[in-house]
Amino acid sequence: MDPVCVEFKLQTLDEKAQDLLKAALKDPRSVDLEKVSNAIVDQALKDSAFCKEAGRICYTLIKEEAMFSNTTVFRRNLLNRMQQEFLAREETRKSSVSQWVCLVNFICTVFDYLKVKEQPMAPLVNPVYDCLFRLAQPDALTNEEEVDCLAMQLHRIGEQLERVEADRMDELFCALRDGFLLQDGLSSMARLLLLEVLEYRAGGWVLSDRAQSYYYSEVTN
């Protein structure tokens, strides 16, 4: 198999998209970068496993485009497409919770991977928070898929987010505490996920050894 395909796990995409991405990764100048960014976002919204790879692909393409032609066309297209999806997130959630979860995952991945001079992209900070706040709403907390997504993002980028904007993190965790304590209809898995995240942050974004063994060890009877 093509080494590029292997490296970025492109085999989950359809053939047309695969060829497009392969060509882009070889030389960003040879393709329509708007099409490329759309292909990546489309796939990321369908397939949450692809998200991480999508992050790496975007990072690579941005670096290559800067090197080859000193432009930022791909990044601009990617961000603006993401912004469109973000603005339409409520409709997306109504029609497909899985797609909404993928969207959150992708936005957070981009936030994590794509930095500007080693700093997180400032325009993304509040949108990321908005997504997490949405996931902390009562109707989302009753949905295990969404709680799982929320926990995962906080593990991945919680510390970074808090560093750039601590106030909203405080508010978010108020909402999480409220949800954990007061809300009806949460599955025990959902409560477990929330409790773990609460302890994780309380420990300075590190899980103590005891907590680690509580949550993650096999229970022996």
């Binding site: 601009r76 297209n77 001079k117 509040n126 706040f133 709403q137 109707d139």
Partner: protein
């Protein structure tokens, strides 16, 4: 959007806060404080179209797309980094290595070494860069940098390009440029007639790139050496130099 879901809400101490999380003053008895949205920013007309936060340089538009915002952020960071680098260069420069090209007659040579003095005015920086370019765009400079690597340069003996990021008065800067270019002549390519090299050193071109634009730094104006020729500065920095040397040779 989500207010329908908030059927029962317990009152917490947080509700007694005067301001909601969106910065708006809360009226008394407001049952849906902004934190009722769990901190979600409310879409509404109450927010200004643009605002300035402590960390932004100019008012930030709310209507920009992410692509443009990130690009603006990147540009701002580059500028800050460049200014920081210049400041660092000035701070770490050893006092002993300061060239004699630093204006001797000017009484603000001390000011130019003080750490906080970094030139950021775009007009001044571009004018200075142009003057530097005239000097670097010469055969003498090419031969000089090939002959003497940076680590072998001795202050006083070897010319050093004036640092455009330092604060200097207009006169001080122009004098430094002049001295620098005069020194560079030591590396002029040898001519066939060796006797005239001494004469070539007094090259009027070194004095000709003083421009007539208004001086914001000190308010002084130079008496102009020539009136019309200065306007042609843009494109004939080097060629005039060569022309002058030719004229001198004819003598």
């Amino acid at each position: 959007m989500f207010s329908d879901h908030q059927t029962s809400r317990r009152i917490t101490a947080g509700d007694a806060r005067k301001r909601g999380s969106d910065g708006q003053l809360r009226s008394n008895g407001d049952l849906h404080p902004s934190t009722g949205q769990k901190g979600e920013h409310r879409r509404g007309d109450r927010r200004a179209d643009s605002f300035t936060t402590p960390d932004s340089v100019r008012p930030v538009s709310r209507h920009k797309d992410w692509g443009s915002e990130v690009e603006a952020e990147e540009l701002r960071m580059s500028k800050n980094r460049d200014a920081l680098r210049s400041r660092r260069r000035i701070l770490t420069a050893e006092p002993g290595s300061r060239e004699r090209t630093v204006s001797s007659g000017s009484c603000d040579s001390r000011d130019s070494a003080s750490p906080a003095e970094v030139e950021t005015d775009e007009n001044i920086l571009s004018r200075r860069q142009k003057q530097i370019n005239y000097g670097k765009n010469t055969l003498a400079y090419d031969r000089y940098i090939k002959e003497v690597p940076k680590h072998l340069r001795q202050p006083g003996v070897h010319p050093r390009t004036p640092n455009k990021h330092r604060k200097y008065s207009r006169r001080s800067w122009d004098q430094q440029i002049r001295m620098w270019k005069v020194k560079l002549h030591n590396w002029d390519p040898p001519t066939e007639d060796g006797d005239l090299q001494a004469v070539e050193q007094i090259d009027l071109g070194d004095f000709m790139d003083i421009e007539l634009d208004p001086d914001e730094e000190t308010g002084t104006h130079y008496p102009c050496m020539t009136s019309t020729e200065d306007q042609n500065d843009e494109d004939s920095g080097t060629s005039r130099k060569m022309k002058k040397t030719e004229e001198l040779q004819k003598v």
